[in-house]
Amino acid sequence: MDILTLFVVVPVLTVLALVFTKDLKQARTVSMLGSFVQLGMAINLVFAYFKEKEVNDSIMVFMKDLVWFEHFNIHYTVGVDGISVAMLLLTAIVVLAGVFISWKMEDLPKEFFISLLVLATGVYGFFISIDLFTMFVFFEIAVIPMYLLIGIWGSGPKEHSAMKLTLMLMGASAVLLVGILGIYFNSNADGGDLTFNILEIAKVNIPFEAQKLFFPLVFVGFAVLGALFPFHTWSPDGHASAPTAVSMLHAGVLMKLGGYGVFRIAMFLLPEGALFWGDFFLVLAAIGVVYGAFAAIRQTDLKYINAYASVSHLGLVLFALLMLNKTAWSGAIIQSLSHGFLTAMFFALIGMIYGRTHTRDINKLGGLMKILPFIGAIYVITGMAYLGLPGFSGFVAEMNIFVGGFQHPDMFHRVLTVLAVSSIVVTAVYILRLVGKIMMGPLETNNVENLPKATWYEKTGILLLLIPVIAIGVAPLWLSDMIMDSIQPFIQGVIK
């Protein structure tokens, strides 16, 4: 079996093994082992990729192609470039961290880990696919477990949030489906066969009229998952109601499918459509960036703060992609990764705080640093990285995005960039206020003596996420090497 298909097979096997587990102990052990293997494979893939790239100069490497439905020319085609390798690594780390954070999942543990890993399977499959149909299948597989994950193990108005999230995301994927069919039936514009293969379609000159029609469908279909304003409303409610590990996976990984799909499908296959619609969506993305940041200031629930911060930061990803140049794009990819790790860390920490104090209201929290030093310290670090302090991944990403934005000589792009930059300041406001209030301020909790320290599994989960954040921040070159080469073929069509 090829190295990429294993990325789908291993989680599926883990799920099958989980079916036979009896209690929490067995379930978490099996999930941990499966996710460990997966992380090992992802790390191995990074090295294998660099090695392969020296001898193989094609856009995608480790390609594997199997015919699935012959008459529709549907294939199971997989392949990776530097970007997907990085995304796979992100997913593997966040999933493993998520398993550690859910170490004490008492209610229906088996079902919880099964749903979690089905979600992971969808995400892995999505990142390795280069056939539109296969990709779409994995996309939906990744979304639907969210309903159960939030609905069963969530808190607060979980049924409402779960339904809202699922319907909005599935509605988006339905719109996407129309777009995909549109691309498919135009993939013979140059006289070839109809195909779902991305690399094949990219060579075809799809008529401008079709691009104009289908770009918004494909773009919106993916961008809803990337929390594009005004379709972001599922995200804060969903995050707030979801259990910790699900919030981590959701904000850390699942939402990244949006940005990834936008450049891999929408902009790569429909470049003229992207140029036509780019400015319109750029405005929406910029609104999302600023709006998300301001909305975060007004929240008092820790999870809502982070959810809106995610809207802002992922809006930045879409914003950068719509800038349509190489610097901004590399910023967008790094931002995706950086945000993935950081937000997963944030949600993990919030989960730990909530598990101890039983509140997420910042008015009722204070001085946690004194009683929970580990959690407090990591929280401060995460916050600093989040607001783009040099030395962490956030800085590298945002630097690239804004430099890329400013490379446009015209007023329109520059004004929007300035607006988006202003969100950094706002981010600093809510992060610093938050840290000041709940970490540094006077003690608010009554039973301060009894709060347990961070356990080994919580620490492991956090450290897993912290290492890459620092690695990207201190030595960003290995990552940008991997990404830059891979961006080139995808951006060719859209550079003005």
Partner: protein, 475 residues
């Protein structure tokens, strides 16, 4: 005498023999052992189903009134598999409830007669055979709907069904007579050659279409559906919603694609509008239902709307996608009805509220239900997703992007109400949840078969390719 003509009608002949055998068995089996007729019927029908898969035959009989093509043969097998699963699922109900009321055998005789009618209907080569088949398939079902005579609601369902069906077949017959008036023939092949787009022909086609729309329960001819589905015994409801509907879709499609092909510019508009109405009304009504049978009734109305997206394609791609979808739909809907049947038999509960907390007491049944609903909603990787995706592809290949867009909006609406059931089963906790129970062998087998179908039909692509090849020869 030429025996090959027997071979051509072997589905019909074997089924007739089985029906007669059961009639004889009814007379000779003593009263206290009547329960064994259920075993006998399932055994015989199982053999019949297996025999159906042995070899395809092609040809026509009675001067072209009856014909058999590989596609028709395949579809009869599909119907057989559906009926077999249905029999497995209803075996317990028959043994526990109906045999005691001295009514075991009639169920099979009526059901098989109806199936026989469907065979003749889809094998028809002219309108006479078609009409005979239509009547033979409808009348026994009306008796079946009123089968639980102890329940008033069941009798009501029977009356409603027979009245609507009589009206529908009358309208159909009127349409057929107009077609005969303009073309001078009742043979499909002759009409196909002579048909022109004059007003009387078009009116004939519309009336004919209307008659079949009743059977498929397309909006606005769906009004009988919910009441009949709710009142009839669950086995009969699933028969109506999958087998009867599937057969009607099949013959409608053959006629639209061959006989009425020259009028495609007329019927495609008709199908377009009806597809939209059927999807929207079916889905919006389904989202308000509390009774599981009514719920599934409206869901099946909506599914019929999706089927029209394949029909509007008008070519063999559309044909293949619809047949594939019907196959998938049979398995998905039977799984859903099977669970409803099992729960209703043990507890008598049929409301969505009663399902709350079901997963914690009966996890396996809940999982079957979840798979069935995901398949109906079109969530990958289960078969329903592939069925729907291909239907949309068929419609999009003709440029109906707006229709596909509205259809995917409907998929999202339908997902909402399918999730309501999943919410009740998985998300809710309930002190008075339906307690744990085990099913008997037949029911288990019936559910396992549907689950296997739901999981494999989509991922196993050669099946679709096979149907696609068959559909090429149709035209």
């Amino acid at each position: 005498m030429d025996f090959s003509s027997f071979l051509l009608m072997r589905h019909e002949i074997i089924l007739l023999v089985i029906t007669l055998l059961l009639l004889v068995a009814e007379i000779f089996i003593p009263q206290q052992k009547k329960g064994s007729i259920v075993h006998l019927a399932i055994f015989l029908f199982g053999i019949h189903t297996v025999l159906g898969f042995l070899g395809n035959v092609e040809g026509a009989l009675f001067g072209g009134m009856f014909r058999n093509t590989p596609m028709i043969h395949f579809f009869k097998n599909v119907l057989n598999v559906g009926v077999l699963i249905l029999l497995l699922q209803s075996a317990d109900w028959l043994q526990e409830k109906m045999v005691k009321q001295h009514k075991g055998t009639e169920f099979f005789i009526l059901l098989f007669s109806s199936l026989l009618g469907m065979y003749f209907m889809i094998s028809a080569g002219d309108f006479l055979m078609f009409y005979l088949g239509l009547e033979l398939s409808t009348l026994p079902v009306a008796a079946l709907a009123a089968y639980e005579t102890s329940k008033r609601i069941s009798s009501e369902a029977g009356i409603k069904l027979i009245l609507s069906a009589a009206l529908a077949s009358g309208v159909s017959l009127f349409g057929i007579s107009m077609l005969y008036a303009t073309s001078g023939s009742i043979y499909f092949n002759d009409i196909a050659e002579m048909i022109t787009a004059n007003n009387l022909t078009i009116l004939g086609m519309i009336l004919f279409f209307t008659g079949l729309s009743f059977k498929i329960s397309l909006v606005p001819f769906h009004f009988w559906t919910a009441d009949v589905y709710e009142g009839a015994p669950i086995s009969v409801t699933s028969f109506l919603s999958v087998i009867s509907k599937g057969a009607a879709v099949f013959i409608l499609m053959i006629l639209l694609f061959t006989v009425f092909k020259p009028l495609m510019h007329v019927w495609e508009n008709m199908v377009y509008v009806i597809a939209l109405m059927t999807m929207f009304i079916g889905n919006l009504f389904a989202s308000r239902q509390k009774n599981m049978k009514r719920f599934l009734a409206y869901s099946s109305v909506a599914q019929a709307g999706f089927i029209l997206l394949g029909i509007i394609n008008g070519e063999h791609l559309g044909f293949a996608t619809v047949i594939y979808f019907v196959l998938v739909y049979i398995f998905s809907n039977l799984a859903a009805f099977g669970v409803v049947q099992a729960i209703s038999l043990k507890t008598g509960k049929e409301n969505m509220d009663d399902y709350e907390g079901l997963y914690r007491t009966n996890p396996k049944l809940s999982l079957v239900m979840m798979l069935a609903l995901f398949s109906l909603a079109g969530i990958p990787p289960v078969a329903g997703f592939f069925g729907k995706f291909f239907l949309f592809t068929a419609a999009a290949s003709k440029g109906y992007y707006l229709l596909v867009f509205l259809a995917v909006v409907n998929v999202t609406i339908s997902l909402y109400y399918y999730l309501l059931v999943i919410r009740a089963m998985f998300l809710r906790k309930n002190e008075n949840a339906i307690p744990f129970f085990t099913n008997k062998l037949y029911m288990r087998l019936g559910l396992v078969l549907t689950v296997l179908g739901i999981i494999t039909l989509g991922l196993y692509s050669p099946l679709y390719d096979y149907i696609f090849e068959l559909s090429k020869n149709l035209m």
